[in-house]
Amino acid sequence: MNPFQPIGRLAFAFLGTLGRIVVFTGLALSHIIRPPFYFRIIGRHMLEIGYYSLPVVGLTAIFAGMVIALQSFTGFARFNAEGAIANVVALSITRELAPVLTGLMVSGRIGAAIAAEIGTMRVTEQVDALTTLSTNPFKYLVAPRILAGMTMLPLLVFVADIIGILGGYIVGVYQLDFNPANYLQNTYDFISALDIVSGLVKASVFGFIVTLMGCYHGYYSKGGAQGVGQATTNAVVSASILILLFNYILTGIFFAANV
């Protein structure tokens, strides 16, 4: 056997998948901007993605903020820079931790659910049934979910910013004996609009990635229950990797010029 055969096969499979994702993304975007719009369905998904993800995102954010405060205290105490803890918590929460952790948590909660739901609809011919009922599956299944993901993730991240900073405040004030007013003033003075906006833009991109991967893997799932299970796993894994990749790219775009 030619040793290059498996490499070639892998390369073709990769390019094929990449091509399918690009076409799928193009179709999804074209249906997001073209009527008809299913407002009731968009609203339902916004509620599912936004409101019902609040507890898990809130818990993640508060513990992240608390851990950052503790860790930076141990580190900064070595060179008497404890005063910078409030700044570090605010910066790391708004720029990185809130968007990335929210993206990853929502990927596990929503991306998996989307892939499982659309995947089940695919293998039970419900997606085909939509087509025979003069309803475009992209418009009815994909576009509302992506739209909801892109709009709800920034809101979730905004809430996570507040709760994460609160977590740092709780540790700083009640465990490390910082002055509450000083802690809040430090946070307020140091944080800039770009820190928050960059996190919200990242969140919107992550919302797009999570819902797109859920829809894509669900839409192309096959082979019954096993196929749906595989689609769910693939949706979460691919969304998580893409979130980390795009986090790097977006951080580069936002902050490379003024590090």
Partner: protein, 258 residues
């Protein structure tokens, strides 16, 4: 005698999955207002044929026209125009899990006509009663229904928008003989009442004899016999003879992996 009006015409349609040819220069005419049943073994391309007509699958070559509209390799506008005339009962009913039975049936109406939710529900309840489902079933979810009731609900959804064309994909598969016969009767009743053109695919000969005006047999991607239902027992075709009598020995060789 004048030529019968053709509702669906398939000419030289070829569909492959990889190296495997499923439809091989496939030709079929479905006349207006007739009930045509396509029979054939599992995996011979019956479902693929239906999916090509509906635009769910795209054939590599050939022509498919529905009411003169070309749908093979057509754009979404053509498919939407054709699908607006179509009602389909899927093998597993394919009811939407997230909707109640009434919402499933009403969806078929609201997706095609600008009607209020209230009127759509009234139409749904009427169609559900046409297929023998009580009002109490309307607000249940598909997971709460038996296989036969799901098929009835699927049938109600298929006829809800009064389509010109009805497709039935293995309508009696997975049902006990009594329920199968009830579904057959309902199909005959619905097709007669709506005056629609019906295209059914099945391997259930009892169902085929009951539903069909004409029967066609598909084998190795081609129609190998087509004729009136009454003629099938006297068809001088060894493939048809073997299939309708369910014999294992004959020209049809089933692929069995050992």
């Amino acid at each position: 005698m004048s030529e019968p009006e053709i509702k669906i015409r398939m000419r030289d349609v070829t569909k492959r999955f990889g190296a495997k040819v499923i439809l091989d220069n496939f030709n079929l005419d479905v006349r207006a207002s007739e009930s045509l049943v396509v029979i054939g073994g599992s995996g011979v391309g019956k479902s693929v044929m239906l999916k090509c007509i509906l635009g769910i699958l795209t054939p590599e070559s050939g022509s498919i026209t529905v009411d003169g509209i070309e749908v093979a390799n057509a754009g979404s506008a053509e498919h939407e125009a054709v699908n607006a005339k179509v009602g389909m009962l899927f093998q597993g009913a394919a009811l939407f899990d997230s909707m109640t039975i009434a919402e499933n049936v009403a969806f078929s109406v609201t997706a095609r006509k600008p009607v209020s939710a209230k009127i759509a529900r009234e139409i749904a309840l009427m169609k559900l009663s046409m297929v023998g489902l009580k009002r109490s079933v309307a607000d249940l979810y598909p997971s709460e229904l038996s296989g036969g009731m799901k098929k009835r609900a699927g049938l109600a959804r298929a006829i809800a928008a009064d389509p010109e064309i009805l497709f039935f994909d293995e309508p009696t598969t997975g049902l006990d003989p009594l329920m199968g016969d009830i579904i057959n009767d309902l199909i005959v009743h619905c097709v007669e009442q709506t005056g629609a053109t019906a295209l059914t695919i099945t391997h259930d000969m009892h169902s085929a004899r009951k539903i069909a005006d004409r029967i066609a047999m598909i084998y190795q991607g081609k129609i190998v016999w087509i004729g009136d239902t009454a003629e099938i027992d006297s068809a001088a075709n060894p493939l048809v003879d073997q299939f309708i009598h369910g014999r294992t020995d004959g020209p049809i060789q089933m692929a069995v992996r050992r």
